[in-house]
């Protein structure tokens, strides 16, 4: 009897605590991103939003790295060829990453919905085109649960809130039969809707030497003027 009374008291206490808690703070609505990506996403990843990254897996992983490094759990669905060592180098915490095999199309939406319910970031690559209804349901679910959908490929029918794309890429460190791939200098552009409507552009090392992401330091790459 006593324990039941205690349980009731505890639940009452929880209720009071929930009432006394301040409303959600603005920073709880966003997930952090890595420092070099701040230029593209100054506010971080807005919870409940969708981000399309085109075909660049490393860009998707760099997006995952911010929340993952700050304690969020993330899942990758249908990305069975994910380079996990690269993920770790880019800053994704492998102890909070779950890789889910590509679900058959009849249970695809159910599986993604189950993950969206509990995890903060879900990285998706759909084998075939997602139906408009499924996509809208998932977006609504993500908004309700505060998850972020990161979309790889072009099988998503809805317009993403933020669209990131690599417009140019150049590898360093490799020559004609010598050296090895060291770093890739890329230009990433963002466009999107609402808050992200303003187009932004940033030059990054993705991956930087030794793995990871770094902003391109203009001063370090200034070349001497060619005197002709």
């Amino acid at each position: 009897m006593r324990s039941e009374a205690t349980a009731e008291r505890i639940s009452q206490l929880h209720e009071v605590a929930a009432r006394a808690r301040p409303v959600a703070l603005a920073r709880e609505h966003v997930l952090p991103v890595l420092e070099p990506l701040r230029t593209l996403l100054p506010d971080g990843l807005r919870r409940g939003s969708t981000v399309a990254v085109g075909d660049s897996t490393s860009l998707a992983l760099a997006l995952l790295a911010g929340p993952s490094g700050n304690g969020s759990w993330s899942a990758a669905v249908g990305v069975s060829s994910l380079g996990l060592a690269a993920a770790a180098e880019l800053g994704v915490a492998l102890d909070r990453l779950v890789v889910v095999a590509d679900p058959p199309s009849e249970s695809w939406a159910t599986v993604v919905a189950a993950l969206v319910d509990a995890l903060d970031v879900v990285l998706l690559r759909a084998r075939r085109r997602v139906s408009g209804g499924d996509a809208r349901r998932l977006i609504a679910r993500a908004r309700e649960r505060g998850a972020v959908l990161v979309l790889l490929g072009d099988s998503w029918p809805e317009a993403a809130d933020v669209r990131l794309s690599i417009t140019s890429a150049e590898w360093k460190g490799i020559g004609d039969g010598y050296g090895h791939l060291q770093a890739r200098r890329v230009v990433v552009e963002s466009s999107g809707r609402r808050a992200a409507a303003r187009a932004r552009r940033v030059e990054l090392w993705l991956p930087a030497a030794g793995g990871g992401v770094a902003a391109v330091d203009e001063l370090a790459t200034v070349r001497p003027l060619r005197v002709s």
């Binding site: 102890d95 189950a114 490799i174």
Partner: protein, 518 residues
Amino acid sequence: MTAVRTLVVRVPDWAVIAAGAPLHEPAAVFFANRVVASSPAARDEGVAPNMRRREAQGRCPELIVLEHDPARDARAFEPLVAALDVLTPRIEVSEPGRCAFPTRGPARYFGGDEPLAARAHALVSDVLDERGAVHVGVADGPFAAALAATDRATMVVPAGSSPAFLAPWPLATLERHDLVDVLHRLGLHSLGDFAALPAPDVLGRFGTEGAIAHRLAAGLDERPPATRPPPPDLTVEAELDPPAERVDTAAFVGRALADELHARLSARGHVCTRLLIVAETEHGECFERLWRLDHFSAGIVADRVRWQLDGWLNGTAAHRPSAGISLLRLVPDELATAAGRQLGFWGGGGGADERVVRALARVEGLLGPDAVTVPEWRGGRGPLEQVQLVPAGVVDLTVERPASRPEWCSEPWPGSLPAPSPATVPRSEIAIDVVDATGASVLVSGRGDVSAAPARLEIGGRPAREIVAWSGPWPVDERWWDAANHRRHARFQVVTDDGIARLVTIEGGRWRLAAVYD
């Protein structure tokens, strides 16, 4: 207030015996490439716990390598425990290889602790059948009894003299590494030294964990005995219709029950320290077994239930249920107040919260157990080998997993690819062709010479792309000692005119796409 008089039966090196290896031959059980148990013969050769496989095999080349399988250990242990059922009901399995029961009733019936210990020894030795040694210890409290069951066949510590018996043992027997380390530096080396400290001071300095260790060292119970039995409504049960004759069907129900039990107890702020697993069959048979739980999580409970079901359903004919299991019940036999788990200051406790675990269990239910995987570091030269995926169902996500951190593989892998690693690593082979300026396939000789500079890359039916930069060959000759797994290939990094870098390999004259740096 002394501890409950307890009899402990212990079979040393149980994991090795359960795996079927004879103890007089060097054998070791490995988990994630490290020794977790070894036979006496292996220890004589210098194989120590936590040693890496390569080092262990270096010290003892004829070492029999066994896989760690707690389910097998538990299943093989069940007949030994079942043999003790004639002495007393409700024997508690502390871990596979060690079980315990309070002696108060049976000792009176069999004429004292000594005859009871001798009897228990005879019963278990019969079943064990020369495969290993059996140690039986009787003392006040399971901790002292477990130490008594260390080297002699039977040892009875007289009632009330457990503190004196414990005093000379080293502190390492407490199995609390960090605490013992501090105590050593304080100049304390035996349990007696530690027990002599005033309990309030130990609590003040070392907290609950220290106080528990202090109680053990002083020959008391780990926790003050519970004063009231748990209320009956905490029991969870499920009827199986149709009755389950296979372990996996029953264990599936067990998993759901474990989740429910964990949710119910944690809602009340309790943890279960001892669990009674009950199974009833269609023919009205009732099987019961107690399990000691060092930690309490839904995953740990589900594991114990699965092992126990495995032990019953796949046991010897004499003890096996005669029909399918129709009812499964989990009774929290002993409860303690949840001390709570202190999370890392920056929220980095490492474990998954219940919501994540439940969502993954649901996805597992939808797609099958192998569809949900988590990465673990394994070490290797190729991008596919360095990190490998293990099913999420076989690891406990609620605790920190050291194998998911890169420090897990500290040894260098000469010839591994330099960072950055490729972001896309296809799991299946993709045939490609790398051709030189004349259109002929580029070949690599046995000495590692390239026939011509690669000029174009052809993937599938798509038009060939010009190669603008390339590097290689980096030959790899792996597992030459193992004819079945011997691999010899050469790797190249190539960048095509569309700016995409790829890792390609040539093996036996055939080119394959190994990874894409996208």
